[in-house]
């Protein structure tokens, strides 16, 4: 097999713009491997990437929210009303 180097090389500037696409698996293979190679070798980008992921985790942990009871009651009545025989 021919050893072709299909890993794309990215600068730090380019890399940080690709993180969301990388996490969404929206990159082609040379790009994906290029991101992995860069992240493994560059401490600054590696930490930035971890912070990016930590941000996404934190976003997914919001304070619980609830409809006020009177609104909920009104909606339950509306549903009941609609299906009254």
């Amino acid at each position: 097999m021919k050893a072709v180097n299909v890993v794309k090389r990215f600068t730090c500037d380019e890399l940080v713009e690709l993180i969301t696409a990388y996490l969404d698996d929206a990159l082609d293979q040379p790009e994906r491997e290029g991101v992995q190679v860069h992240l493994a070798a560059c401490a600054g980008c590696g930490r930035h990437f971890e912070q990016f992921r930590a941000t996404i985790d934190a976003l997914g942990d919001p304070l619980p929210e609830k409809l006020p009871t009177d609104v909920r009651d009104r909606l339950m009545s509306a549903f009941r009303e609609r299906h009254r025989p």
């Binding site: 500037d13 929210e65 909920r72």
Partner: protein, 208 residues
């Protein structure tokens, strides 16, 4: 993650059949599972808690009225969220807080760490894990504030994706935008929120 994963709800056909048959327990379950996330999404479009509650209420009323005509071309959740977004948009227009959905490229300049494009100005720090309650609640407060300052379309996309846990496909379907646009908006929003958190973590690690 938010409620979009379904949180133990039965499959859509079961949900739809139950709603059409007037199953109150099923309606109550949907109401309690989805309304919190719907409030957060509504808040991206309207300016007050009261308006957001009305948007969610009107959405559920439309769902009650429309479930018989639901054709199953999308998931129930996507259908409900599309009604929500349309209801919220109309309400936002009435409040003159219109979203320039056509002006896609005016969504703010991406935030970057690089002054000249030749690398990190300084090494990014390792963040403490938000284990303590105080830290977690401060992080939540900062995030809420950061979300509130985002350009509207970035805020909606990041709310649906990262707060509510929608997939990229679901967001594109709900907002009727392309995958590429969705990704650009999401990335800019995440970059801004990360920057806010980074600023906070840097400020708290300073010695007294």
């Amino acid at each position: 993650m938010g409620s979009f994963a379904g949180g133990g709800l039965p499959p859509d056909d079961v949900v739809v059949t139950a709603l059409r048959a007037g199953d109150e327990a099923m309606f109550a379950t949907l109401l309690d599972t989805w309304s919190g996330g719907m409030l957060r999404v509504a808040r991206s479009y309207v300016s007050t808690d009261h308006s957001a509650e009305e948007v969610v209420q009107d959405t559920w009323l439309a769902v009650i009225g429309g479930i018989d005509g639901f054709e199953g071309r999308s998931s129930v959740k996507t259908w409900v969220y599309r009604i929500l977004v349309n209801t919220a948009k109309k309400r936002g227009v009435r409040e003159s807080r219109t979203l320039p959905w056509s002006a896609f490229e005016q969504d703010g300049v991406p935030v970057t760490e690089f002054g000249t494009g030749d690398g990190w100005k300084e090494a990014a720090a390792v963040w403490p894990s938000p284990e303590g309650e105080a830290l977690a609640s401060e992080v939540r407060r900062l995030i809420a504030e950061a979300l509130g300052r985002l350009p509207p379309r970035q805020r909606i996309v990041i709310t649906l994706r990262d707060v509510e846990g929608c997939t990229s496909d679901e967001v594109c379907e709900i907002l009727e935008i392309s995958a590429a646009n969705q990704r650009v908006l999401l990335h800019r929003a995440r970059t801004t929120v990360r920057g806010r958190l980074a600023g906070y973590f840097e400020s708290v690690k300073q010695p007294e």
